[in-house]
């Protein structure tokens, strides 16, 4: 971080969390119409904390992450409202050069598909070293040495010998490690991991999640884990934001959400997981389809699929009701959802 920026965003000089997304709205202008991808998302993450953003395709979870990183394609994307505060400063109002500085040094990101995120024509060591040369102006030799150290840190065996290998020479799990090495190269304070293990096999997935947890512990990073996998979330998250139709429908500490979900959608997801004692029985299935972003349902976006629906769900958009200091649910009937327990 440059001098200017550090002054501007001195540690602890602001009241809120390390990173706060506040009432963010993002749209895509397409030929077929305006797709409202993110409709007022609010969440925050602090140093050392793991926030899991849970949602299906089209829920807006990745778009929110791309907006935080400032890598959203605009157009067709357009930010129509809200703030993203990092250390109290609104990133959306920063000029491009300062934004670029924060990318990598303040906030960085790991993508799902490591093969396409790495440049196939450069050795991996060179690509990691480039981070130091670009942001810090480190000399070629030093940067390479630091790249080897990083590859060691993400447990790539024989890092010294492999530093000149190309991305295709690595397995999927190793490539994801290289991506992680690049992401943590500049000691970011926030790491966003967008489906980091979805493309990986189960046994390799466990390794990568373990590595992420360890890195987070060592450097006290804030981690935003974007995923659709309820198992992964249960394993590592401190708190969860469940997204549906571009909104946060529930946020809660991890134990609370799994014990008694307060939104019909989160509840439906949890109940549709095949369980041992249900063998041979019909699975609980949320009926219907995820919403079409071009034609969002009126009122609560989940109402066409919701077993708790009443008349006002069709007309009134539910705010994120506060359940307790750390919990919220965007359902008019959250009390009922909690009280009813398991169906």
């Amino acid at each position: 971080m440059t001098e200017v920026l550090s002054e501007q965003m001195g540690r602890g000089s602001h009241g809120g969390a390390l990173l706060e997304v506040d009432n963010l709205h993002v749209e895509f202008r397409t030929r077929a119409g305006v797709a409202k991808a993110v409709n007022g998302v609010t969440y925050s993450v602090d140093a050392g904390e793991t926030l899991a953003v849970l949602g299906e395709s089209g829920s807006g979870k990745s778009v929110t992450a791309q907006t935080i990183m400032g890598i959203l394609d605009m157009p067709p994307g357009k930010i129509t409202g809200g703030e993203i505060r990092f250390r109290g400063v609104d990133l959306l109002k920063l000029p491009d050069d300062q934004r670029r500085k924060i990318r990598g040094e303040g906030i960085s990101m790991v993508f799902q598909d490591a093969l396409s995120a790495l440049n196939p024509v450069f050795p991996v060591g060179w690509q990691i070293a480039e981070m130091f040369r670009m942001h810090r102006g480190t000399s070629r030799a030093d940067a390479k040495k630091m790249a080897v150290e990083l590859m060691d840190r993400v447990r790539i065996p024989a890092a010294k010998e492999r530093v000149n290998d190309f991305p295709h020479q690595f397995s999927g799990g190793m490539r994801q490690r290289i991506m992680i090495a690049m992401a943590i190269a500049l000691d970011p304070e926030i790491l966003i991991a967008d489906e980091p293990t979805t493309a990986l096999d189960v046994t390799v997935q466990a390794q990568i999640m373990g590595l992420l947890a360890e890195l987070q512990r060592d450097s006290n990073m804030g981690l935003i884990l974007i995923t659709h996998d309820l198992g992964v979330v249960a394993d590592v998250a401190d708190k969860i934001a469940v997204m549906y139709g571009g909104r946060i429908v529930e946020n809660a500490p991890v134990h609370d959400l799994y014990r008694d979900p307060a939104h019909p959608y989160s509840k439906g997801l949890l109940e549709s997981i095949p369980r041992v004692d249900q063998k041979g029985q019909e699975l609980y299935a949320i009926k219907g389809l995820p919403p079409n972003l071009l034609e969002m349902p009126t009122g609560c976006a989940f109402h066409p699929r919701c077993p708790y629906r009443r008349d006002n769900c069709v007309t009134d958009v539910p705010p994120l009701y506060t359940i307790s200091g750390t919990r919220g649910s965007a359902c008019h009937y959250w009390r009922e959802v909690i009280d009813e327990g398991e169906r």
């Binding site: 299906e56 395709s57 065996p157 397995s171 999927g172 799990g173 190793m174 096999d201 189960v202 046994t203 390799v204 997935q205 466990a206 390794q207 999640m209 373990g210 659709h228 996998d229 309820l230 198992g231 992964v232 979330v233 249960a234 394993d235 998250a237 991890v254 134990h255 799994y258 439906g268 997801l269 949890l270 549709s272 997981i273 095949p274 369980r275 041992v276 249900q278 063998k279 041979g280 019909e282 699975l283 609980y284 299935a285 949320i286 009926k287 389809l289 995820p290």
Partner: protein, 338 residues
């Protein structure tokens, strides 16, 4: 989901090696990828055999071999006693009626330039004697109804449907010829979580209704367990363990099965701090150059000298009640122990 004893599919010593060649004009074989390397199992009428394994274990190649989309290097696949791997021409075409498949990706498995009616009706155009020409359209609409789609949507194109609906179209196509066996190659892994359960329920209902036998290939162990009567675990082209769902999940004897089950994240945060995990080191070796003896020995914590020298046979050993390809097979409950 009762399983009759009658075997309708018998797979024996199935091997598929893809040659690795060098040179453009004169091709020289420099090795082989042993995608499927000696697989044997039976499938009974009306049962579901789950096949689990990680990428590169050969489960998709196995599906292609069973469907006669690839010719095996050796071995046989017998459907009602007749070998589909050696069948040709009209005999092969006739045998195909009995074995169909549902594919993983609902976005690439349907021809984007054909209407739903043409896609589901194509089996009848190929096998013209199944349904007379005049009745085909009606039949396609019935099939759409069976899989829970609106029969009036027969003239729509695949892109007008969501992923889950497209998967239903693929299932309708698979059902059209009334096969006894359907191979499901990762049928729900490309779908959203909330849609997966819908498609799983559909598959189970169709099984009961039409007495179908499934080979259910997947990497998601909780999904496989839910639907399968028996489960085969594959690693680098071989079946390493084969047993009933309870045998595999409650008392796995092969270290790889134990590691696989242990690695699956449990969707329950309670007690996660104390959970014991078997975390395997490294990645699976390349199927072009698998380790000698037991393929799993390079990642196994139990490996000894014998593992490098002798390939363990898939057989029941003292202390276990089902076949396992490990010299030191020993039941260990990794799921409930957590």
């Amino acid at each position: 989901m009762k399983a009759n004893a009658e075997s309708i599919l018998e797979v024996r010593d199935l091997v598929k090696h893809f040659p690795l060649t060098q040179g453009i004009v004169v091709k020289r074989q420099i090795g082989a990828i042993k995608a499927v390397d000696g697989v044997s199992f039976d499938l009974h009428r009306g049962e579901t055999l789950g096949v689990v394994g990680e990428s590169g274990c050969g489960k998709s190649t196995l599906a292609k071999l069973l469907m006669a989309l690839e010719r095996p290097t050796s071995g046989s696949v017998r459907i009602h006693g007749r070998d589909i791997t050696t069948a040709r021409g009209s005999e092969l075409k006739r045998m195909r009626r009995n074995i169909q498949m549902v594919m993983q990706d609902p976005y690439t498995s349907l021809n984007p330039r054909m209407t739903v009616g043409d896609i589901v009706g194509e089996p009848f155009e190929i096998h013209t004697d199944v349904v007379p020409k005049g009745g085909r359209r009606r039949r396609v609409q019935e099939l759409l109804e069976v899989v829970g789609l609106n029969p009036d949507h027969i003239n729509r194109y695949p892109h007008q449907f969501s992923g889950g609906q497209r998967q239903r179209i693929g299932i309708a196509r698979g059902l059209a010829l009334q096969p006894e066996i359907i191979i499901c190659d990762e049928p729900v892994s490309a779908l959203d979580v909330s849609i997966q359960a819908q498609v799983m329920n559909l598959l189970e209902r169709l099984q009961n209704e039409f007495d179908l036998a499934y080979i259910f290939i997947a990497h998601d162990l909780s999904v496989v367990r839910h639907i399968s009567d028996r489960i085969a675990v594959m690693y680098l082209g071989k079946i390493v363990e084969l047993g009933s769902d309870a045998q595999i999940y409650d008392g796995p004897t092969h270290p790889y099965t134990q590691a696989l089950l242990s690695a699956v994240p449990v969707p329950d945060p309670e007690g996660r701090e104390t959970r014991q995990r078997i975390i395997l080191q490294g990645d699976p070796p390349s199927p072009a150059n698998p380790p000698s003896g037991c393929h799993f020995r390079t990642r196994c914590w139990k490996a000894q000298d014998i593992c490098a020298e002798q390939t363990p046979a898939l057989e029941a050993r003292p202390g276990s009640d089902h076949p396992s390809a490990c010299h030191f097979a020993e039941a260990r409950d990794v799921v409930n122990a957590q």
